[in-house]
Structures are given as C-alpha cells and as structure tokens.
Amino acid sequence: MDAQKVDMFIMSNAKFFESHQINVIRERLIALDDSKWAMISTVQLKDPTTSLIISILAGSLGIDRFMIGDTGIGVGKLLTCGGFGIWAIIDWFMIQGATREKNMQKLQQFLY
C-alpha cells in the first residue's frame, strides 16, 4: 500500500493502539494489498479515553468491560459489585490497555 496513505492512517489512529504495536502495523499495512484500504480505513475502533471515563463512572457495574467486548468478565464484575470494589479500581488502570489490545485484535483480522 502507498506509504503516504499508511502514514496518514497511523497518524490519525495512533492513540487507539499500544506504542509498541505501531511499527508492526505500519510494516504490515505497507505490505498489504491496496484493495483492503476501504475496509481498514472504516474499521470501528474504540477510544481508550472513553472507556476510561466509563470505567470511572460505571466500572463497578462492569459496563466498561461490556463496551470493549469482554462480556464474560463484564458479567463477573456486575455480579460481584465490581469484584468487591477492588477489581473496579484495578480496571481504572487496566482498561485503556485492554481497549488498545481489543483494537489491535480487530485490526489484525485484516492485516493477516
């Protein structure tokens, strides 16, 4: 794919991924066929900041986990008052990384 296009994608979407993944994404995108550009550029990615806000406001109901697609863990948090409140606090710090991982998983199905 065109390097300029890839750089544009990286620049506008860098905050959705872990920093150590960016290089891999760039290399894979450049090696990728041009026909996949339409799909790649329209992938719905979750904003880590939004999930952090939701985690702080409604974390003990597990809604942050439901939002990023970890339904099972979300149910676990909901049933236990956010893991006795401890897990909810741990998730304030974990949820951004978890969201970025989920975004990477979503993009990966197009990359490989």
């Binding site: 003990s60 099972g72 909901l78 049933l79 236990t80 008052c81 006795f84 991982e101």
Partner: protein, 138 residues
C-alpha cells in the same frame, strides 16, 4: 490482555477462593453478632444499593437453608452461589482431563450474550432487579 484457557481458569479460581473467604468472614461476623460491613463502592459513595448488593446476605441465608428468603433478598445471590459451587469443580475436571470444556462454554455464552435478542432482556432484568433492590432498601 487476550483471554486464554489458563488465564480464565486462574481468574475464576481466584474469584471463587476470594468469594469463599468472604463468605466465611461474613458468616463468622454474623455468628458473633458484629455489624457486617459493605464493600460496595456505589453504596458507599451514593448510599444507593447496586444491582448485586445483598448477594452475600442472600448466600448466607442459602447456607441456612432458606431458599425463599435468599430469593427475596437478591436473586443474583443464587446465580453467584451456582457459579461459586460449579466453577471450581468444572475447572478441576478440566485440568485433570486436560480439556477446555469450560473455556469453550464461556466463549459460547459470550457470543450469545452479545446478541441483542439475549442482551436486551437480560439488561432489563438487571435494571428491574436494581429498582427492586432500591425499593427494598438493602
């Protein structure tokens, strides 16, 4: 964090152990007539019970054999009790036979729960239960 078999099993196992320790702690608290204390963040901050507040009391009354009372305090307690009693057994069997039936079951349930025709009624049920909790004043 990609969830795999061993990660899920350790999370479940640790939660169950914590649950049992918490249950023992609350049971001994009740025996000595000490005041039970809440761990729920929402209840501490807003003074409104959360959807799963009262599940400890529900399980405690279940251990005394009062099924109806447990249901009336909070039906969520019954679900938690079922998970707490089933999960360690299932994990043990899976580890001994080196299979991953619980992990497959978990993933299947997850895909079902993501479908709106299942998730919307369940969300409504949780909200109804929450309203009931608030009116009961747990």
């Amino acid at each position: 964090m990609t969830l795999n078999r061993n990660k899920l099993y350790s999370i479940l196992f640790i939660s169950c152990i914590t649950g049992y320790i918490w249950l023992y702690f609350s049971l001994s608290n009740i025996e000595n007539n000490r005041e039970a204390f809440d761990v729920c963040l929402i209840k501490h901050i807003t003074n409104i019970p959360c959807p799963s507040c009262g599940s400890t009391r529900s399980i405690v009354s279940l251990t005394n054999g009062n099924f109806n009372e447990a249901l009336l305090i909070n039906p969520v307690g019954l679900i938690v009790a079922a998970i707490m009693s089933l999960a360690p057994l299932w994990i043990f069997i899976d580890i001994v036979t080196r299979r991953k039936t619980l992990f497959d079951f978990f993933q299947k349930i997850e895909t079902y729960l993501k479908r709106p025709q299942y998730s919307i009624p369940l969300i409504l049920l949780v909200i109804i239960n929450w309203i009931w909790n608030i009116t009961k004043g747990l």
